[in-house]
């Protein structure tokens, strides 16, 4: 039987689908009866998705001078 602490340690393996068959079954059983872990794993997945969609735009980057350097002969 997995504890909630162990579930939290497995969090990324759960959301990345990186579990052995046996562990997958224990995880499934735990999630079935533990709403707190269900919430934690769901939020961890949401955190991962937020990071994946995080724009990293920086208007302050001087793109013009970078382009000029690309076009300048060596």
């Amino acid at each position: 039987m997995l504890t909630c602490r162990q579930m939290s340690e497995l969090g990324s393996d759960i959301i990345d689908n990186h579990l052995s068959v046996r562990t997958r079954l224990s995880v499934f059983m735990h999630l079935h009866m533990c709403s707190r872990c269900k919430r934690y794993i769901k939020q961890l997945e949401l955190t991962s998705q937020v990071l994946q969609q995080l724009p990293f735009k920086n208007e302050a980057v001087d793109s013009q001078s970078i382009l000029n350097r690309l076009q300048a002969p060596d």
Partner: protein
């Protein structure tokens, strides 16, 4: 056609305003990713080379990955090329050591939740990212992660690289990469949870 497809069409035509847009979109990310691989003094050179190669080869980019992922792969190759030329290796001292669970104190001695996460107001990444304050907070905390976790989170989540290629790029075992990724996500989750509870960063 989505935004990225549209910009790709313009890039293939050699449209310089499209080049400027992608530079603004991805330059800071590439610098942050290259920094630990080559050190702060060479990160600029790596990324400059990356733009050069990328714009020259954009016709070969098939769009099977995100543009950012393709750029990240070029940057990693450039970083390794610079290191080889200078006869040095990536030296990432103390990288990959597990810092332990950042939420260990939220469980009782039996391993059950004592302080479980709260219910969040938002349920989708799009909804979460509409809050400007939250967006700023995420960026701030991303930079506050320990450098190994930050690097892996950047490469995996923002860059879209997979764990085996990150392991190769950093010279660490794939198992280490997965642990670092998990710790980084846990810390970012704790930040989001705090924001959802308190409304402050």
């Amino acid at each position: 056609m989505d935004e990225e497809q549209e910009i790709l069409v313009r890039l293939r035509r050699g449209d310089s305003s499209a080049m400027e847009s992608v530079i603004k979109l991805h330059h800071s990310f590439l610098i942050a990713m290259a920094m630990p691989l080559v050190g702060p003094e060479s990160a600029d050179d790596v990324v400059q080379e990356t733009w050069m190669k990328a714009f020259a080869a954009i016709g070969k980019f098939e769009g099977r990955s995100k543009l950012r992922t393709w750029l990240a792969r070029i940057a990693i190759n450039e970083a390794h090329a610079i290191n080889r030329k200078r006869g040095r290796e990536v030296s990432l001292e103390n990288w990959g050591v597990d810092s332990g669970s950042p939420i260990g104190s939220r469980f009782n001695e039996k391993g059950a939740w004592e302080a479980p996460p709260s219910q969040w107001h938002y349920e989708t990444p799009e909804a979460l990212l509409t809050e400007a304050e939250l967006y700023e907070c995420i960026r701030k905390h991303l930079h506050k992660l320990p450098s190994d976790q930050q690097s892996v989170v950047m490469m995996r989540e923002l860059g879209g690289l997979d764990c085996p290629e990150i392991a190769k790029a950093l010279g660490l075992a794939e198992g280490n990469i997965r642990v670092l990724l998990h710790r980084g996500r846990q810390r970012m989750h704790a930040m989001l949870n705090h924001f959802e509870e308190d409304g402050t960063c």
